[in-house]
């Protein structure tokens, strides 16, 4: 049976791991290579790096980190943040990333997703959708870490990226990100019901029950979390044992 994945996400800025509270207040939580190694040894099913300043600073730092991490971690590594061109993807994959996650560039032109998935295969193309609730049962796609609204309906956009060859959707609720109040389960449910590709839940995890909700109530194939893991509140193993005790199938 396919296991539900737990993915720690490391937000990286200037070569250091940080996690923003609603993307503003940043705290330093250590060296990304070392952290990734700890996570993969500790049972993480995948590792995710999000280069949060990639849009306006030079990208060589993240390439270097990916290269070092990939030599030590033998679980899948996804890298996102500032992926705008085919060359960006080539550079990250050559450095050792297994998947890249595309956000703004996919919103700007969904054909970029098609081009990328044709060239590299759907297996390595993740589309990151940042969504914010705008009214009852309506969510809109945002870009630039939640600063720019796009007027695009999140559900429609999710269907579009699937049609254009995305292998997975990384769905972040901008309302919940950094709040520790749990995933937006309603949003997750509507997206997982409307698409046939795996959805990774993101944004808002504060307790282990939130992971359970994302998988069982939201229908997510994988759950991504940042701060609950890197400030040592929970170990990956504890999260998995907890889910297992509630009959959620995980890789122990």
């Amino acid at each position: 049976m396919l296991k539900n994945r737990i993915i720690p996400c490391l937000d990286v800025k200037n070569g250091r791991v940080v996690k923003g509270i609603n993307f503003v207040e940043l705290k330093d939580a250590g060296d990304p290579v070392e952290q990734a190694k700890i996570y993969s040894d500790g049972g993480a099913d995948e590792i995710c790096f999000l280069d949060i300043t990639a849009s306006n600073e030079n990208r060589d730092t993240i390439i270097d980190i990916v290269r070092k991490t990939a030599k030590e971690c033998f679980v899948p590594l996804t890298v996102g943040g500032g992926v705008r061109t085919i060359q960006n993807i080539t550079d990250l994959l050559l450095a050792g990333a297994d998947k890249v996650s595309i956000n703004t560039a996919a919103v700007k032109d969904v054909r970029f997703v098609l081009e990328a998935s044709k060239k590299f295969g759907s297996q390595c193309i993740v589309v990151a959708i940042d969504a914010k609730k705008i009214s009852d049962k309506k969510w809109e796609v945002f870009t630039h870490g939640g600063r720019n609204k796009t007027g695009i309906d999140a559900v429609e956009f999710a269907k579009q990226v699937e049609t254009n060859g995305a292998g997975e959707i990384l769905l972040t609720s901008m309302d919940r990100d950094g709040t520790k109040s749990g995933y937006d389960v309603e949003l997750l449910k509507v997206i997982t019901d409307s698409t046939n590709i795996p959805v990774i839940a993101s944004g808002g995890v504060g307790t282990l029950d939130h992971l359970y909700d994302g998988i069982i109530k939201g229908g997510a194939s994988a759950v991504l979390a940042a701060s609950i893991f890197h400030y040592g509140e929970y170990k990956i193993k504890e999260a998995k044992e907890y889910l297992n005790s509630k009959n959620v199938s995980v890789r122990l």
């Binding site: 993969s40 899948p76 295969g121």
Partner: protein, 208 residues
């Protein structure tokens, strides 16, 4: 011992290179190349594969003499070859991803889309799944039945002769995830991304 990872410009093989480099460290000389001469003189070959069946077959065919060299190596001379993911799938006669495409034809069978029961199972099949070992396999030495391996695929290899199947995994149906026939090995899952257990499989192959 010289081991070659065949680099035929198809997909991302960095993880394959990294994991084999880690296991081979100080023991085996590892080369990543599409140079026919070097492939011919290798003791073992790894044939990775990412992207579609068609794109991988096309890329192999684009390198003059590569398909014949691989066939001489694995079929005529019966030297150890490990196919990973689409690398395994290409052993088949035919694949149906993108367009009907002729495979290498080393193991009779076809590669078709996983029946996801009308959307009940999401595709691609991504993540960690248990393998059920079907027969003793040299690359599964010290690997426990029901070990978890990392998968990413939407198509499956269906061999005609079931005796080549060394492991299956359950996703919507029983999917062939590993084959062994004499010197020919293939895994649908990615040992290079399957943590320590995956590295053990690589080690088993390098120790053959």
């Amino acid at each position: 011992m010289n081991v070659t990872i065949v680099d035929y410009q198809s997909g991302n093989i960095s993880s394959v290179i990294n994991s084999f480099t880690e296991v081979a460290k100080g023991k085996v000389s590892l080369e990543v190349t599409s140079d026919i001469k070097k492939i011919k003189s290798s003791d073992k070959i790894i044939l990775p594969g990412q992207g579609s069946f068609k794109s991988c077959v096309d890329s192999l065919n684009n390198i003059n003499g590569l398909v014949e060299t691989l066939k001489d190596f694995a079929i005529t001379n019966k030297k150890p070859l490990l196919g990973i993911c689409v690398g395994l799938q290409m052993f088949a006669d035919v694949g149906y991803e993108e367009a009907e495409t002729k495979g290498l034809g080393w193991i009779p069978g076809k590669v078709s889309k996983i029946d996801n029961q009308n959307g009940k199972f999401k595709l691609p099949h991504i993540g960690w799944n248990e393998i059920e070992i079907q027969k003793e396999s040299k690359i599964f030495k010290d690997i426990k039945d029901k070990s978890h391996m990392y998968f990413v695929h939407s198509y499956e290899f269906i061999p005609e002769n079931k005796s080549v199947i060394s492991a299956i995994t359950n996703y919507s149906s029983k999917i062939v995830c590993s084959i062994e026939r004499d010197n020919l090995f293939g895994t649908q899952f990615h040992p290079e991304k399957s943590g320590k257990i995956g590295l053990k499989i690589i080690d088993n192959f390098l120790k053959l």
